[in-house]
């Protein structure tokens, strides 16, 4: 059996992701997380009527990041992720999880070279691409403004 034949055989015999189940769970749990976020936004609007929409949005983000970090620290978020997949990775709670989990893991190598150095090992690419994209779009926006 050569490499190509074997590759084919492996492709045929390997178990496939059960798409119906995983898509549903990602949708349901991801949706639930967003619903909780919306509930906090509504609650904050009622409690602090002087805040505008932007300020409420920022405050809701802070609350959800706190919850994501707390559940990571309690060892619950990885269990949610086992079932939810992208449903719990994409919301801002997933971003908190991706920063807190390496912080916990590498804390054993010390605060400086462990926790601080490796904290962004998972979230780093997201931050780099996010910052790069906003710089590029900002430049385009500026150039268009010159000709208006």
């Amino acid at each position: 059996m050569d490499k190509k034949e074997y590759g084919e055989l492996v492709k045929q015999t390997s178990p496939k992701t059960k798409e119906g189940k995983t898509l549903f769970l990602a949708f349901a749990i991801g949706g639930l997380i967003c619903m909780i976020g919306q509930a906090f936004a509504d609650l904050l609007t009622a409690v602090i009527p002087s805040f505008d929409e932007k300020q409420i949005g920022a405050l809701t983000g802070v609350v959800m990041i706190f919850l994501g970090s707390l559940l990571t620290g309690l060892g619950v978020y990885d269990k949610i992720g086992y079932y939810a997949g992208a449903g719990s990775v994409l919301p801002i709670t997933g971003f908190a999880n991706s920063i807190v989990s390496p912080a916990i893991e590498y804390n054993k190598e010390g605060i400086v070279f462990g926790l601080m150095a490796k904290m962004f090992s998972i979230a780093g690419p997201v931050i780099v691409s996010g910052v790069s994209a906003s710089v590029a779009i900002g430049a385009v926006y500026y150039i268009i403004g010159l000709f208006r």
Binding site: Y6, G7, T13, T22, Y77, Y82, G85, G94, N97, K108
Partner: protein, 334 residues
């Protein structure tokens, strides 16, 4: 005595006189829990990190092996073994606790097969007592090969679960009062790479290596697959086992009921451990507990023990390399 390209027949009587095992929390809830000597109740085993826990697990396992055997460290000629971590930290660091020559070995998850083979060769050169010990730990392997433990990721359907545990065995040439399994032959495996590059599907990457070693062993030793009551691989998992069977069946006919895999034996289906256990501790834990005890009680007379290993690292996968695999076969008979 060498026979053929890869196979060696062990000229002396090399007994596997004693074994000792320590299993992790999940393994202790699995199918083989009644066969383990000791099951830990928390994964850090009272240490500050999982790496330190793995070192302590090995130390305890070797100590209890020597205690069972009634030996002092001074009676042991060498400790052979390995694990999955960089620089073989658990093996080397646990060996500093004993005043015994140490030899760190690495064949990824096939290290226990390499240890038994090297041990048998040492005994043929005049050593009397050799300890073979391999281990793995879910949390240390996860950190080195994959992601931080608390990261919420979903394992793909072909993933396996690294076993937490230590298995160690005392090889000796001293005559035993009771019937003991003996190492009678071994076949050193070649590194086989079929071009698969998915680090989440190691069973499929390792199955061709297991097939290559098993067929070389049967051919060079001049026996059929039915010579052995059981051909047991290390950690192919359900998929790898199926692939191995389909390759072997083209050569030796129906073998499915004669081929099993330590990774398939260790966990219960409802434990959500993917396609089965893996890791350097998987084959040693299952051999030193269930297989060894079953052989001693007469349930199995001849087995071909074939631990399998995938020689990848996290960086090699990121650099686009495929996964080279290896398997060493050890014939154990009573």
């Amino acid at each position: 005595m060498k026979k053929g390209r890869q196979t060696y027949l062990v000229d002396k009587k090399v007994y596997i006189a004693y074994t000792a095992t320590i299993a992790g929390v999940d393994e202790g809830k699995g199918r083989l829990r009644d066969f383990f000597d000791y099951v830990i109740d928390e994964s850090e085993f009272g240490c500050k990190s999982h790496e330190k826990a793995e070192i302590k697990l090995r130390k305890h396992a070797i100590e209890s092996l020597l205690k069972n055997a009634g030996k002092n460290p001074a009676d042991v000629d060498a400790i052979l073994g390995g694990d999955l971590l960089n620089q073989l930290v658990p093996s080397g660091f646990s060996a500093r606790e004993f005043d015994v020559p140490f030899c760190g070995l690495y064949s990824a998850c096939a290290t226990f097969g390499q240890s038994l083979a090297t041990g048998a060769a040492l005994l043929c050169c005049g050593a009397q007592n050799v300890v073979c010990c391999t281990s793995s730990h879910f949390a240390t392997a996860e950190r080195q090969y994959r992601f931080p433990l608390e990261l919420g990721t979903q394992p793909p359907p072909t993933a396996q679960w690294t076993v937490t545990g230590v298995g160690c065995a005392l090889l000796t040439t001293e005559r035993q009062k009771f019937k003991c399994p003996k190492v009678t032959a071994f076949t050193l495996g070649k590194v086989i790479d079929m071009g698969l590059d998915d680090p989440n599907n190691m069973g499929a990457a390792m199955a061709p290596a297991a097939y290559d070693t098993i067929s070389a062993h049967l051919r060079e030793r001049g026996v059929g697959a039915d010579y052995y009551d059981l051909i047991v691989t290390g950690d192919l998992g359900k998929l790898g086992r199926e692939l191995l069977c389909s390759m072997l069946e083209q050569e030796c006919g129906a073998v499915k009921d004669r081929v099993n895999d330590c990774g398939c034996m260790i966990f219960k289906d409802r434990q959500k451990c993917g396609l089965g256990g893996s890791g350097a501790g998987c084959s040693s834990l299952v051999f030193c507990s269930y297989l060894y005890k079953t052989m001693k009680e007469g349930g199995l007379k001849r087995i071909l023990f074939v631990p399998t290993g995938a020689m990848l690292s996290k960086d090699s996968s990121l650099q686009g390399e495929s996964i080279p695999a290896i398997a060493h076969a050890v014939a154990i008979e009573i």
